[in-house]
C-alpha cells in the first residue's frame, strides 16, 4: 500500500488531472484507494437497499406462512399499505413532523439566530451559542428524556404556564406530534445555526453596506441582498435537515413510543412496529422503500434548486 505504487511523473505546474490519456490500467490503479470505502458501502448500504427492493414485493415474515415459503406477492404490500389507515396516518404525521420541525423550525430559527448573532454583544452571543449547541451535542435519548420531563404534566413548561396564569396540560398526551416536533427543533437547530453562521460570515460586508446606503431597510436588505447570497447554503441545509428529520426514530421512540395510540407514530416507528414487533418483514421493507422514495423526492427538489443556482 505504501511502497509499490509507481510515482506519477508530473512536471511542476501541471495538474495531474489534466494529463492527456494516461494508460487505463494506471488510472484504475490510482482510484484503488477508493476500494475499502466502496466495498463497505456496497455491502452495508447498496446491498440492503437492493434487498429492500426485492423483499418489498414478497410476503416475507418471521412467523406464519411468509416464514416457511417466501413468495412474490407483486404490489400487495403497497396496496395493503396505502389502504391502511395506520400507514396513511404515519405518512401524514411524518410530513407534519418534517415540515414543522425541520423546514420551518430548525431552518428558520437557525437562520434567525445566525442573523441576530452577527450584531449582538459578545457575551450574549456566546451564552446563546453555548445553550443551542449544548442541546445539539446531547445524545438523542438524553435529549428525549429532558424534553419528556419538560412537557410532562408536572414539568417545567406547565410550571411556567401556571405562573403567567395559563392552564397547563399533559402535552405528550394532548399534542404529542407538536411536542416531539418542538423537541426536534430544540435538538437540531444548532446545525442550521452553524451552517448559516458560516455562510453569512462569507457574505462581503460592502455589499450589504452599499444596499444600506441605497436606502434598503433591514427586511428588504435581508430578502433581496443577503438571502440570495447564501441560497446555496439554504438549499444544502434544507436537504440535510429534511433527510435527517425524515428518519428520526430514537427521539420519538423514547418520548412517546409513537403514542398515545398512533398519534405520534411517524413512518420509522410504524416500520419498526410492523417489521420487528409484528415480524412482517416484507411489509416492513415496503414501508422502508416508501421512506427512501420520499427522501429521494426531497433530495431531487433541493438538488434542482442547487443546480439552477449554480448555473
Amino acid at each position: 500500500m505504501t511502497t509499490t505504487a509507481p510515482a506519477v511523473p508530473a512536471p511542476i505546474g501541471s495538474k495531474p488531472a489534466d494529463q492527456s490519456g494516461p494508460p487505463r490500467g494506471a488510472k484504475l490503479f490510482k482510484m484503488l484507494p477508493l476500494a475499502p470505502a466502496i466495498g463497505l458501502m456496497l455491502v452495508f448500504l447498496a446491498g440492503p437497499i437492493l434487498y429492500c427492493v426485492y423483499a418489498a414485493f414478497t410476503n416475507m415474515a418471521l412467523t406464519g406462512t411468509g416464514a416457511a415459503n417466501v413468495q412474490f406477492v407483486g404490489l400487495d404490500n403497497f396496496r395493503k399499505a396505502f389502504g391502511s389507515h395506520a400507514f396513511t396516518n404515519s405518512i401524514w404525521l411524518t410530513l407534519v413532523f418534517t415540515l414543522i420541525s425541520a423546514i420551518i423550525g430548525q431552518n428558520t430559527l437557525g437562520l434567525g439566530l445566525a442573523l441576530l448573532m452577527r450584531r449582538s454583544t459578545k457575551v450574549v452571543r456566546s451564552f446563546v451559542g453555548t445553550a443551542v449547541i449544548g442541546a445539539w451535542v446531547l445524545p438523542e435519548v438524553v435529549a428525549a428524556y429532558l424534553l419528556s420531563a419538560f412537557f410532562n404534566t408536572d414539568g417545567t413548561l406547565n410550571v411556567i404556564l401556571h405562573k403567567v396564569g395559563l392552564p397547563g396540560q399533559d402535552w405528550l398526551y394532548a399534542a404529542p406530534i407538536i411536542a416531539v416536533s418542538i423537541a426536534n427543533i430544540w435538538r437540531g437547530t444548532a446545525f442550521s445555526m452553524l451552517v448559516y453562521s458560516a455562510a453569512l460570515s462569507e457574505v462581503p460586508k460592502e455589499i450589504e453596506e452599499s444596499a444600506e446606503m441605497d436606502g434598503a431597510t433591514g427586511l428588504r436588505r435581508l430578502i433581496f441582498v443577503t438571502l440570495p447570497m447564501i441560497s446555496r447554503a439554504i438549499m444544502t441545509n434544507l436537504m440535510l435537515i429534511t433527510l435527517q428529520t425524515l428518519s428520526v426514530f430514537g427521539l420519538i421512540f423514547a418520548m412517546t413510543r409513537g403514542g398515545p395510540g398512533t398519534k405520534s407514530q411517524t413512518l420509522p416507528l410504524y416500520m419498526y412496529e410492523q417489521a420487528f414487533s409484528f415480524s412482517q418483514i416484507g411489509y416492513g421493507t415496503a414501508i422502508a422503500l416508501v421512506m427512501l422514495a420520499i427522501g429521494a423526492v426531497f433530495s431531487l427538489i433541493y438538488l434542482r434548486g442547487l443546480n439552477s443556482e449554480a448555473a
Partner: protein
C-alpha cells in the same frame, strides 16, 4: 440615526437572550435533578445538594460497562471511517475523472439516506452472516453509515491542501500513498480531527443502530442501556437518570469543547456545506 441603531441593537440582544433562555430551560433540569435526592420532573433548585445520585449509578453494570462498550463501538467505527474516508478522498480530490462527479453526488445522496429505512434488510443481512449481537459487525455497519458524510467532509478539507506540494514529491519519486502520508495528512490534521470527532459524536448518540443490532445487555453501549432506567420497576429514579445522563454526555461535551477550542466556532461545517 445612531439612537435608533442602539435601540435596534438592544432589541436584537434581548430577542437573542430570550431564545437562549428557552434553549437552556430543559438543560437546567438535568443539572439540578442530578444533585437532588428527591428529583421530580420540574426544574427546581435542590435544597440539599448531594452526589448520592452519581454514587448510585457509578458501578459496572449501570455506567462503566456501557460507557466502555460505547468507546469501543464508536472509537472503532470512527477510526475505520477515518481510514476509509482519507483513502477515498485522495483520488477524489487529486485525480479528476469522469467517475468523480457521479460518485460524489451518490455520496451526497447517501449522506441523507434515512438509515432507519435500511435497518430492516441490514438486520436480515446480519442474521444471514451471523453478525447479530457482535461488536465487530456493528462497528462495520456504523462505520459504513457515517462514511458518506465523512468522505464528503474529508474531500473538502483535502481540496484545501495545494496540489503543487505533492507534485514536487512526485518528481522526487514519491508514490501517491507516500505523498498522502508524508505531505497531505500532516497538513490537514485539523480537518481529519474534525471528521473523526464529528463521526464519534454522531455515533455516541446513535440509539437505533446498536438498539437493533446488539442484544446482550453486556454488549450494549450507553445510548441503549440508558433505557434500562425505565424498566419494569415503574417510576424511574429521576435523580439517578439525570446523573447518568450527565456522565454519558460528558465525553461528547469534552470532545466538542476540544473541537471548538482548537478550531474556532463555526469552523468546518461551512467548508463542508459549500460543497
Amino acid at each position: 440615526m445612531i439612537a435608533r441603531d442602539r435601540v435596534s441593537k438592544l432589541t436584537q440582544n434581548l430577542v437573542l437572550l430570550f431564545l437562549g433562555v428557552l434553549f437552556i430551560l430543559p438543560l437546567l433540569w438535568v443539572l439540578f435533578a442530578s444533585v437532588n435526592r428527591t428529583a421530580g420532573l420540574r426544574v427546581e433548585l435542590p435544597t440539599d445538594p448531594t452526589f448520592a445520585n452519581f454514587k448510585a449509578v457509578l458501578n459496572v453494570t449501570t455506567t462503566y460497562r456501557p460507557v466502555l462498550n460505547g468507546i469501543v463501538l464508536c472509537g472503532g467505527s470512527a477510526l475505520l471511517t477515518m481510514l476509509c474516508s482519507v483513502l477515498a478522498a485522495y483520488p477524489l480530490s487529486r485525480f479528476k475523472t469522469k467517475f468523480n462527479r457521479p460518485f460524489l453526488l451518490t455520496v451526497l445522496f447517501c449522506t441523507g439516506l434515512p438509515i432507519t429505512a435500511v435497518m430492516v434488510p441490514v438486520y436480515g443481512l446480519f442474521v444471514q452472516l451471523n453478525l447479530v449481537d457482535t461488536l465487530g459487525g456493528t462497528i462495520l455497519f456504523m462505520a459504513t453509515s457515517s462514511l458518506p458524510f465523512a468522505i464528503w467532509l474529508t474531500k473538502t478539507f483535502m481540496d484545501g491542501v495545494p496540489i503543487s506540494l505533492e507534485e514536487a514529491a512526485w518528481v522526487d519519486g514519491a508514490s501517491n500513498m507516500q505523498a498522502l502520508r508524508r505531505i497531505v495528512l500532516p497538513l490537514m490534521w485539523p480537518g481529519i480531527a474534525v471528521v473523526g470527532i464529528f463521526t464519534f459524536i454522531g455515533m455516541w448518540g446513535n440509539f437505533f443502530v446498536p438498539f437493533m443490532l446488539l442484544l446482550s445487555p453486556e454488549r450494549l453501549p450507553a445510548s441503549v442501556s440508558i433505557f434500562t432506567f425505565f424498566g419494569q420497576y415503574g417510576e424511574p429514579n429521576y435523580g439517578q437518570l439525570a446523573a447518568y445522563s450527565l456522565i454519558y454526555t460528558m465525553p461528547v461535551l469534552l470532545l466538542y469543547l476540544l473541537l471548538s477550542r482548537k478550531l474556532g466556532g463555526a469552523f468546518a461545517l461551512g467548508g463542508a456545506i459549500k460543497g
